[in-house]
Symmetry: C2
Subunit: 364 residues, 2 copies
C-alpha cells in the first residue's frame, strides 16, 4: 500500500492508514527537562504560563522546534477546567496541586457548575490553540487534551495527588449516586472543553485517564467507563481522532477500548504486541517506552525503541510515545535521539517488509 | 473429592487440594487499623516492636484472636534483613523508611555483607517465630515472609520509598553488572533469612515483591525474575509452600509464575479468573479484594467477596486475601465480617457445586 503524501503521518496513523515512518511525540514533551522551559518557569508560575497565551504557545512550540516530533501538544494543566466549575486550586512547591475546596458530599457536587462556557471561561486556552496553529502553519498537527472524568474526580475528592484513592473509592462505594452525578458534571465540562479546543483548531485530542489504573476491572467498567464514553462519543461529532490514555490499565484494556478512542494509549508495563492483542486489531495504539528508559545509555535506548517498533511491525496504526510523561531528569539529547531512531528504524523495518512481500510475490 | 480433615485448610489450598471452605487471611492483618496494635505502637517504635520478640509475637497474635483468620503472619518489617547487610535505616514520622547509606555504585554493593547468619543477626525474628508457633499450638499455620530482592533493592537504591524508581532503573540500565551483583547478594540474604524462619517454625513463606509493577515485562524478566527464582528455588529445599506476591504485575503474571511460588498472590486490578487464566491452572492463587473495599458498606463488601469466590469456584487452590495490605482507616468489624463471609459463602458455593455434580451424575 502506498502512503498518502498529503495528510500528516500522525493523522494517518490515527486512522490506521500506512505511513512511510512511524510518527512519534512525547507526553510532557514541553516541560522541566528542557532548559528553554525552565528559563520561562523560573519567572512564571505554572498557572501564569497557562493563562498567558503567548507564553503557553511559546512553551508548546519549544519541543516542536527542538526535537522534530510529529505532533505538538497544547501546553496546559489538566486541572484548568475545574476553575470555572468553582474549584479553587494552587500548586504548592514540590507537592503538586492543592484543591482548596475538596468535593466530598452531595452538596459539594451540587455546588459545582457544569455549564462553564469554555470559549469564555477558558478563553486563554483557546487563544493558545489558535496561536500555536498559526505558528505551526500546518507543518505538524496540534493535539488538544483534557483529563478524563475519573482522574479529575480523584484530584477534587482527595484534595490533591493520592496514593491509595481511599476517599475517591469511598464515594463510589458509599454514595454511588453522588459519584455518578459528579462524573456526569465532569464529563459534560470535559466534552465541552475539548469541543472548544477542536473548534479553536486542535486537530486531535487526547483524554488522559492517568490514574485509572488504581481501579479494578469491574469498578472501571461500572463507575468510569460510561462517563469516559460520554466524552469520547460527544467528540466523535467533532470528527477529530481521539487518543484515550491510561496507566496501569493492563487488566482492562478492552474496557478502555469500549469507552472509546480512535487510538488507545498504553503504559510501559505490557509489551506493545500483547497490549494490542488485548485491544484487538481494529484500533490504533500509542506507546510505550518506559520514561525512565530515556535516562539509559544510548545503545540501551536503541534496543528498547527497536523492540517496540518490531512489536508494532506489519500493520499501520502505531504512534510511538512513552508510557507516561517525560521525567524532569531526562537529557534532552536522548529525547531528540529517540525521534530520529523511531523515524530511521521504522523506515528500515518497512523496507524489509516490502522486500519480503516482493520476494513472496515473485515466488508465487 | 473429600477434604482432608487433618491438614489445615490453608496448607491444603496451597497444595491445590480441596477444602471445605476457602481459607482467608489478610496482608498487614496486624497493623494500625487495630486499636490493640495502636496501643502498643503508641509506646514503642516499629523497630522496637520487631526487636522485642514478646511484643512482636503479641502483635502477630492480635488479628488471630480478633478475626478468626486461617493463618497468622509474622510481624516484622521487610527491611530488617538489610540491617545485618550494613544498611542504616530509620523511620521518619509519616514519611516511611529512610535509608541512611543508599547503594548507588559498585563500591556500595561490594561493601554490603551477604553472609549475615540470620539465626544470630536476626535472632529476634527467629525468637518471634518460635513464640508465635508455641502460642498458636497448631490451631492455624504461621506464615513467614521477606521482601523480594527487587523491592529491597528499590528501597536501598532510592534511599526510601519512590514514585518513579528512576535511580533503581538507572542502575539496571547503566550498570547491569552492578545491578546483578546487588540482586545476587539480596537474593542470598533473603533465601537464608527465609530458610531460618522455616527452621524456626514458619510453615509457609511469602515473598513480597510489592513494587515489581513499576517494571515492564521485559525488564522484570531480565533483571528480576532470575533473582526471585533463586530465592524460591532455595526454599523448595525447605519443603514449605511459598507465596509469591506482587502488585501491578497484570502484564507479566506468567513471568512471576516462572520465577516460582506454590501460590501466586495477585493485586485487585485484574478479575481473579482472568489472572488465574494468565497464570495457568497448575498453580494456586491468592487474592484479590481491593483493600479500599473494606471501607465500603457491608452489602457492597458482600457483593465483592461473592464475586471473587465465584470467579475461583470449581477448583481448589484459592486463598482469599486482599490485593495489598489493610489500610489504617479500615474498620475492624468489616475485616472480621469478611472472614465470616468468605467461610460461609464458599461453603455455600461448594454445596451448590456438589448438588449440581450429583444432579449431573444421576442424569447420567
Amino acid at each position: 500500500m502506498m502512503a498518502d503524501p498529503v495528510t500528516p503521518r500522525f493523522l494517518r496513523a490515527c486512522a490506521m492508514q500506512p505511513t512511510e515512518v512511524t510518527p512519534v511525540w512525547f507526553m510532557r514533551q514541553a516541560g522541566r527537562y528542557m532548559p528553554e522551559y525552565r528559563a520561562i518557569r523560573s519567572r512564571h508560575t505554572l498557572l501564569e504560563i497557562c493563562r498567558q497565551p503567548e507564553l503557553a504557545a511559546e512553551v508548546t512550540m519549544q519541543p516542536v522546534n527542538a526535537l522534530g516530533v510529529d505532533a505538538a501538544i497544547l501546553f496546559a494543566d489538566i486541572l484548568l477546567p475545574l476553575i470555572p466549575m468553582g474549584i479553587g486550586l494552587h500548586f504548592a512547591a514540590g507537592e503538586g496541586p492543592i484543591i482548596e475546596n475538596p468535593v466530598r458530599i452531595e452538596a459539594d457536587v451540587e455546588a459545582l457548575r457544569d455549564a462553564v462556557s469554555p470559549m469564555e471561561s477558558l478563553a486563554y486556552v483557546m487563544e493558545t490553540v489558535r496561536l500555536v496553529r498559526r505558528e505551526l502553519a500546518d507543518r505538524i498537527p496540534l493535539i488538544g487534551f483534557a483529563g478524563a472524568p475519573f482522574t479529575l474526580a480523584s484530584y477534587i475528592i482527595e484534595g490533591g495527588s493520592s496514593r491509595n484513592y481511599v476517599k475517591t473509592k469511598q464515594m463510589m462505594y458509599q454514595a454511588p449516586s453522588t459519584w455518578h452525578a459528579l462524573m456526569g458534571k465532569l464529563a459534560r465540562v470535559v466534552a465541552d472543553y475539548l469541543a472548544c479546543q477542536v473548534a479553536s483548531g486542535a486537530q486531535v485530542v487526547q483524554l488522559f485517564d492517568s490514574w485509572a489504573g488504581a481501579l479494578n476491572h469491574d469498578d472501571y467498567t461500572t463507575y468510569v467507563l460510561p462517563h469516559s464514553r460520554a466524552v469520547l462519543r460527544d467528540l466523535r461529532l467533532s470528527g477529530v481522532p481521539t487518543i484515550h490514555f491510561a496507566t496501569g490499565a493492563s487488566a482492562f484494556l478492552p474496557q478502555m477500548k469500549a469507552a472509546g478512542g480512535t487510538v488507545i494509549g498504553v503504559d510501559w508495563r505490557a509489551p506493545l504486541d500483547w497490549a494490542w492483542q488485548q485491544l484487538g486489531a481494529d484500533v490504533a495504539i500509542q506507546g510505550n517506552l518506559d520514561p525512565v528508559a530515556l535516562l539509559a545509555p544510548r545503545d540501551e535506548i536503541e534496543q528498547r525503541v527497536r523492540r517496540i517498533l518490531q512489536q508494532a511491525a506489519g500493520r499501520p496504526g502505531h504512534i510511538f510515545n512513552l508510557g507516561h510523561g517525560i521525567l524532569p531528569e531526562t537529557p534532552v539529547d536522548n529525547v531528540r535521539a529517540v525521534v530520529d531512531m523511531v523515524h530511521e528504524m521504522s523506515a528500515a523495518i518497512r523496507s524489509q517488509e516490502q522486500t519480503s512481500t516482493f520476494k513472496e510475490a515473485i515466488r508465487l
